[in-house]
């Protein structure tokens, strides 16, 4: 509950900061719509030549695009801006102020930046998902929907832990923003089912940079492609990642000595 209350506070700060620039909403809406249209047009080109991509039907790939926008929106809404601020605050020494606050520092650091316009991406992704689901029809049952919600949460936890671990490296190294950019460019690969990629790339997108857990696995849950072992494995991995990133964060904090702000 405390998380939600704090998140709400930071969200309001984000809204107040951005409401001064209202034209941004129109520009961002335009850019998000253009990005979505580009993704769908790319699919149209490909599905003009085939009616199945691997084992995926067109509507299923559209659902994947919806998941891609939804998860990408969540990353861009709070994870990425917060982590960027955090890295900057380590370099500048302003992390001292966060550490003196009476809340858990990891929590504060993880939600301190909210990029409100990314809500547009979340809404668009959700819309695409709903349309694709409508077209997939009764193939999506209660079990699939539950597995989807679970995998979305687990995938979100894995991606969050991954970002936190990378960002925590900034206690030891100065320029870690660059590593974060790698995730951004690799994330693009998540617009397609990772099962299409050759083994080495699939491995990299699953375990080195967890793009597969962010997009493909939830979409697979939705389209009834997941067996219970993978579901349990993903939840297990999410739990392990959360614990490991927490421990690593603690080690980082112990190592940190403020350069005086």
């Amino acid at each position: 509950m405390k998380i939600l209350r704090l998140l709400w506070v930071f969200f309001r700060i984000g809204v107040m900061g951005e409401l001064a620039y209202r034209l941004n909403f129109v520009v961002q809406l335009f850019q998000s719509l253009l990005e979505l249209a580009t993704a769908l047009a790319g699919l149209a080109v490909i599905f003009a030549y085939t009616d199945k991509l691997g084992s995926w039907r067109p509507d299923e790939v559209v659902a994947l695009v919806g998941v891609y926008f939804l998860v990408g929106g969540v990353i861009g809404l709070v994870i990425q801006p917060s982590m960027e601020r955090f890295i900057d605050s380590v370099r500048q020494g302003t992390l001292d102020y966060t550490l003196t606050k009476p809340e858990d520092a990891q929590l504060l650091v993880s939600i301190q930046g909210v990029e409100i316009w990314k809500l547009i991406d979340i809404a668009l992704g959700f819309g695409v998902l709903v349309v694709a689901l409508g077209r997939l029809g009764e193939r999506v049952g209660a079990w699939q929907a539950a597995a989807f919600a679970g995998m979305l949460l687990a995938g979100g936890a894995i991606v969050y832990s991954f970002w936190l671990i990378l960002a925590t490296c900034s206690f030891w190294f100065v320029r870690v923003e660059n590593i974060l950019i790698i995730f951004q460019s690799m994330y693009e690969a998540g617009r397609w089912p990772v099962s299409l990629y050759p083994g080495w790339l699939r491995f990299g997108l699953t375990f080195l940079v967890p793009v597969a857990f962010a997009t493909t696995v939830p979409a697979e849950a939705l389209t009834g492609r997941l067996n219970p072992q993978v579901v349990l494995g993903t939840v297990g991995l999410a739990a392990v990642m959360l614990v490991v990133s927490r421990l690593f964060w603690r080690a980082g904090i112990r190592h940190y000595s403020g350069a005086s702000a």
């Binding site: 034209l23 520009v27 335009f30 850019q31 253009l34 990005e35 249209a37 580009t38 047009a41 790319g42 080109v45 490909i46 003009a48 030549y49 085939t50 199945k52 991509l53 691997g54 320029r175 660059n178 950019i181 790698i182 460019s185 690799m186 693009e188 690969a189 617009r191 397609w192 299409l196 990629y197 050759p198 080495w200 790339l201």
Partner: protein
């Protein structure tokens, strides 16, 4: 003329030294630029394999060849000048460039070429690795490879002029990211990044041919792959030359108008 040559040589040296300081960013840049063609290579290979090894005049091996060559041609012609200009104009550092007695486009070209020379070995290595992994089919046509040399040069020049002009939009608006995105979407479809142009609907092909996009990337790729007849190659080179001349004129007009609109305080 020799003064200009000296200028280029000096710029090469300084930007080489600067680039070598940021090797990590070069690697990250490389990942981004290999990944996109790689994704489409994989997708089209899958499509081609499900359709019995051949789609729209391309076999699976020819798709691999197409996207590997596309990656290299993109590397040669790519620019990032729009991000630079946005920064220069917003921060006013352009004022210093304006004080110099040479047109600033020369230092931008020198920077572009030198940074590409540094990343070229990495790019070639990536191309070799992809070739080993995806076993592309190349049909080497000697005259076409020779003709591709001027085609690549003109493609580089044309794309540089177009994107440099686009970068100057920052003189008039601070919302260049929306403009850039529109340009990139057009580039994605019209220069053959998503699929070889011959696989797109014919109205889109017509648009790509009428605008400079095809001549910036797709034409040299098809030439290198030996997919063009001599007549088409000649027509393509001519189209490139015409667009380069138009581009030069455009740069001149837009630059003059932009500098007039520009004002900075302090430095």
């Amino acid at each position: 003329m020799s003064a200009l040559l000296d200028l280029y040589v000096q710029h090469f040296k300084t930007s080489l030294a600067a680039m070598l300081q940021y090797r990590a960013s070069l690697v990250i840049w490389l990942i981004g630029h290999v990944l996109e063609p790689l994704i489409y290579l994989v997708v089209w290979s899958v499509v081609s394999n499900t359709r019995g090894g051949r789609v729209g005049g391309y076999t699976t091996g020819e798709f691999a060849a197409y996207f590997i060559v596309l990656m290299l041609v993109n590397h040669i012609t790519y620019t990032w000048i729009m991000y630079e200009y946005e920064y220069r104009i917003r921060h006013g550092s352009l004022s210093f460039d304006l004080l110099r007695p040479v047109h600033p486009i020369h230092s931008d070209i020198a920077d572009n070429v030198s940074s590409k020379l540094i990343s070229l070995p990495g790019m070639l290595l990536a191309a070799v690795l992809l070739a080993l992994l995806f076993r592309p089919t190349f049909h080497v046509v000697l005259w076409a490879v020779v003709a591709a040399i001027p085609a690549l040069f003109l493609a580089f020049l044309l794309r540089f002029l177009v994107e440099w002009t686009l970068a100057l939009a920052a003189f008039w608006t601070t919302r260049v990211s929306a403009i850039n995105q529109m340009y990139f979407v057009a580039l994605l479809f019209l220069s053959g990044q998503v699929a070889p142009l011959s696989l797109l609907p014919s109205p889109i092909q017509a648009v790509a041919t009428a605008l400079p996009f095809r001549w910036m990337v797709s034409f040299p790729v098809e030439l290198l792959l030996g997919r063009l007849t001599p007549a088409k190659a000649m027509a393509g080179l001519a189209a490139q030359a015409v667009w380069v001349v138009l581009g030069l004129g455009l740069v001149k007009i837009v630059w003059r108008a932009g500098v007039r609109a520009y004002s900075a305080v302090g430095g």
